[in-house]
Symmetry: D2
Subunit: 390 residues, 4 copies
């Protein structure tokens, strides 16, 4: 790598932004058991403080996504200022239309028009919060679907979905966007109303420019080639965000890069190749994970670092050599060029980037030395720990 390239790579890495999710700092688990952890936040403020801590050690996570109503506060403007005081800002607003009794058979696709009204109203309310927090992104994930063949009409549910999306879209401000997530299954076990990127894409296309697809890396059928979807949506101008995590089986919500680091690299390569790494491009690179058994803050720091390492490798791909091999139909050489970057140990490079930015080159060790963990364990005694049910 010539010096100028190295400078460009480091500059790109320095500019990379990853958004953390407030709920990843809270307790989570499986349907079998939630194992609580000491020091877990009890309030939106404490989650934001943890997110700010991740940013303090990584320098790459300057915003935190909220989840309504898990992060409900009476004064979102004050919450925004609280975040800013800690050096970060409030990012995407995530809606929740799956935890009320009314949503047993669906929210915006429920056969009952009253439930649909309630659900859509919640989406509109989330936009009002965005107006206050200055958030750009409204993230929509619907658990809507059915468990049994015949339970409801698949096509009618699409009509209802489209109607709710249109009403919500129309309420968006000029600088606001809708991120529409898809998921193969869970909690619906037969047919999910937005099961794949195609469904999300089709609705976004119909809605307009402000609607884009959000790819959660754990939401696909086995064997799905995620980087293909990334490349396709970039080409179509319809990729708006990632929910990063990793999975071996279903929506395991493990740390991103933990299950298949090579896949993460391939995804980031498509991002780099598509010119979409720069925050100005507009993609919101979020984490969406559950740290059920591992310490949460260090796991999130590790996740940020995993994305950075995959990105660094993607940036190191010799694209001229790659293109030449591809054009020549040299299968082995083209693959080798890609693998050469992947096999590089980029940790020294990232340590350098961190040091140049005034950060500790080893964020995990620095966190452990900082005493933050001991402090929150001591301070956050009593009260009700936050979790998905909170």
């Amino acid at each position: 790598m010539v010096l100028s390239d190295r400078t460009a790579v480091k500059s790109a890495l320095r500019g990379q932004r990853i958004e953390t999710p407030s709920w990843a700092f809270a307790n989570s688990g499986t349907r079998f058991k939630v194992f609580p952890q000491a020091g877990v936040p009890r309030t939106a403020q404490e989650k934001i403080a943890d997110a700010a801590t991740v940013h303090r050690f990584t320098g790459a996570a300057p915003s935190v996504a909220l989840h309504i109503p898990w992060d409900w506060v009476d004064d979102f403007a004050a919450l925004g200022r609280y975040a800013e005081d800690l050096g970060i800002r409030i990012g995407a607003i995530n809606t929740n239309v799956f935890q009320d009794e009314d949503y047993k058979l669906g929210s915006v696709t429920n056969p009952d028009p009253g439930v649909r009204r309630k659900a859509t109203d919640h989406l509109l309310e989330a936009i009002a919060i965005m107006d206050t927090t200055g958030s750009r992104d409204l993230k929509l994930w619907f658990s809507d679907g059915i468990n049994y063949p015949g339970q409801d009409d698949i096509r009618d549910r699409q009509d209802r979905l489209a109607e709710a999306l249109h009403e919500t879209y129309d309420r968006l401000g000029a600088d606001q966007r809708m991120l529409l997530e898809y998921k193969l299954f869970e909690p619906a076990f037969y047919a999910t109303d937005i099961p794949d990127w195609g469904t999300s894409y089709a609705h976004c296309l119909e809605l307009g420019e402000k609607a884009t697809v959000c790819i959660d890396t754990g939401h696909h059928a086995p064997g799905t080639n995620i980087e293909f979807i990334v490349a396709f949506l970039l080409r179509a101008g319809k990729l708006g965000a990632f929910d990063f995590n990793s999975r071996f089986y279903a929506d395991d919500d493990l740390m991103v890069g933990a299950a298949d680091p090579f896949q993460l690299f391939r995804i980031m390569y498509e991002i780099v190749r598509g010119g979409a790494l720069d925050p100005a491009y507009g993609i919101n690179f979020m984490l969406d994970q559950c740290h059920n058994i591992e310490a949460k803050i260090p796991a999130i720091i590790r996740s940020v670092m995993n994305v950075q390492e995959a990105t660094a490798k993607a940036l190191l791909v010799d694209r001229d050599a790659l293109r030449a091999a591809q054009r020549a139909g040299n299968v082995l050489e083209a693959n080798a060029v890609l693998m050469d970057a992947y096999n590089t140990d980029v940790r020294p490079l990232l340590a350098e980037v961190r040091a140049e930015a005034g950060l500790d080159p080893d964020p995990i060790a620095a966190y452990h030395r900082s005493g933050y963990q001991e402090k929150i364990v001591a301070d956050r005694a009593g009260g009700q720990q936050a979790g998905w049910g909170a």
Copy 2:
């Protein structure tokens, strides 16, 4: 079908026994939400009453499996008598070593010997309950596994597993058995300690005759041919039980026969072909389901009926014609013989079997007419509804 055959089929159907699980009458859900239902039991006794109701309308579900500690009572002998008074008996005892804080990193395979001791003690305690209830079957399902590569040593965990199984096996009485369940994933998301039938089979083989494999129909990798496993284990004399349910994606725990009735038929055909339908053969045909959004008691009645219908079709296979076509290498004819039975509408035959046994030919309708649902909704007001966390 000649008359004598029809008589034999009806006799086999009359003799079929399906065990219901106490926990299926209680609230259940996904990690996202548990939707409670009106009339859900609050105690082990109320669960048993519901199980007895299922038996009253189907005549085919004379036993109920318990789950310890969900169904913990101080006096299991009294609980057994309570069941008998209602016309059923207590079946398999299911252990639970996954809901205590100590089990965060595993139970019998935990790296901490103290936790392993505690877990094994629970298994031994369950056998003591069996001594009291007269249960034959100890059912073991371990959520043990790891979420991240490196988290623990895969092979060491097998050693620990073997040790706990041996100690437990040695405690079994002369007429008691161990049913060892396997599951691909969930709640462990990288490596589960008993992920497949091969692992369960290998441990059972090492343990001895009283240890047999339990097949949960929802616990396999996509594409797994379950009836092959049934045939293989029957041939090896190592199939001890089923946990029936159905799935489209992962361990969805839907009503058995709801997702792939043809698969259920193929499974029951292997049972019939292996001569293993008769209760005297010793297989415990249990349900293990979660009725998250549908009414629980009717869903369980429907599940019993689904197994009966698949069994009736399996019994109707013209095995002489099938064997002749198979031996002749006539692929289409052999398949046609099987499909001919599958395509038969066996509901009239089962209605006849029920009527002859003094049952209502339509158990679902009879249940709805009975007023039982209205009664439990009224009676079970207040108190704490049972669920997985109870």
Copy 3:
């Protein structure tokens, strides 16, 4: 079912049309071995004769799809007349851009512009054949894709694909259509250029009204809900055709309905519910199967019957009762209404439909009695049997 309903169901069944594929009458196999069968056609004419035979016994398969160049003849007009003389017509024209040495690294997405030109020219040539045969449908399946990460640029390949599709689309006559098929994998093993319905849909949308999606029921990732795709595409007016077959694992190409008859029923239910069964709606219901080890003509007759049986069950769904249960949120009742139709034995009804149409009620038996098989075995001695390589 009241009489008028029964009449309507029978009328719908009588009008149903299924297209057979010429290549299913020829030899096929796996990469390990092609097992030839006696009596297999050697020419396009002999394939058409077999297709006409399937129609003669089923009355439901009045057209046959051709595959170019497998079915290349010098005079397609004469071939069309030959088919008409036998009582059927030529249906969709299938293109083949995957068996020439030039296509090793792709056809329309090949990095080499010369190869792309050659491939597109073949597509245009197929339209010229359609002009002659009067075929409405141009079916495009591309094996294009890459085997190794980095081998070629995923996004560039989409550009090339779009370009070839546009040129081809522009050549279509007023009454001609393009059917764009997708497939997850095989023969490409890392990234396929049209891997899913979303990709096909997006290209069709861009192309215009004459481009629609073709669903091959064996081309999905494990767990994909195909009937959802059917419902979605019908709603969007973009479902053009089916390639029916069935699979347990990958693109197994077994007889439709053989692996999961309940899935086939659910698919046909969405067709019926969407008003798309009638040939006037425009969907081309084709078979696309490989009869590697079973007798080919009877297997195709059986496949036609399997689709008919699934359709009959779908037509029998009590849609008023279903809608009422769905609207009431009665999960079990709605499922029961659907299952009631599925569990019905529709073979007597179909036998009646056949008899009323002057057909033998048992097409398989009639075929075996007809002597056709013996005749082709005797007549088709010598020469080169047709197959995929032909």
Copy 4:
């Protein structure tokens, strides 16, 4: 890494042995098309010459597996001497009971006893070849299975399989072994007779000490944790061999390490942890791949290097630190220790190992410089290229 460790790692790498498969040098493809390559061998001798070339540049592939009858020669003793003259030896003998017309419905599990006899005789004949070549390993892969439910009796086929295996096992000499491979599907599309490791293991256990399981890394259901199987079989003393390759979807037979290098590392870690890397342990680490579109010899060199790189990383795991973190239940630290090794760039270390062994540190470049490829392209004009059908 302290110096003594580094010495040990290099010593282990120097001792590593990977067996190449003769058929990987020949033409291969999918059911859609075989794309021939220039310079492909026409005879067993030419395949051996290519294998010797791979060894010449890697120093790690001193044996070549043969496939009977693809590599049939009249004088196997002479063939063995030919290999030795080129610096390698003949390794495992692979049997082929899937390409004769007789095997359409199976070989050793065929319903026809005559076909079973023929198939078993072929297995015995392969042992006779082993007597001549001095091969230790008889590798058995059976394509046996059925495509349609009912086609044959699943359990009867197990009986027939057991019988053929017993007869074959009894014929093995004192220093000979049986490697029993399993595969989920293909070419059988409904039920395969040895579909998973459990089935292979159970048969091997019954046969005796000389029978062990062969793991083909591409033969599993989606989501299967292969390193678990490795760890389990090592613990049971029943892992005999690998067929290395990689896959994204089914049995894609891509270059090992190409699809999921992290998985390959995890597999090699279990090998290292189990003390099974040393050739003296007895595991045969074979490649079994198809280079359908890429140049074959360089692809095989690359595959050998991929295994070496994964092994080097596995050897670099700080096992004391890992064990300490595991015992302490420190999930993140244990994972980090493993990932630290994985993230290391081991290419310089392997270059050093090669240089010290008198090899070119870059085997691929050295091969390309050697002129071997140009020579075989020129020399091997005319004749019939070897392939699967040869």
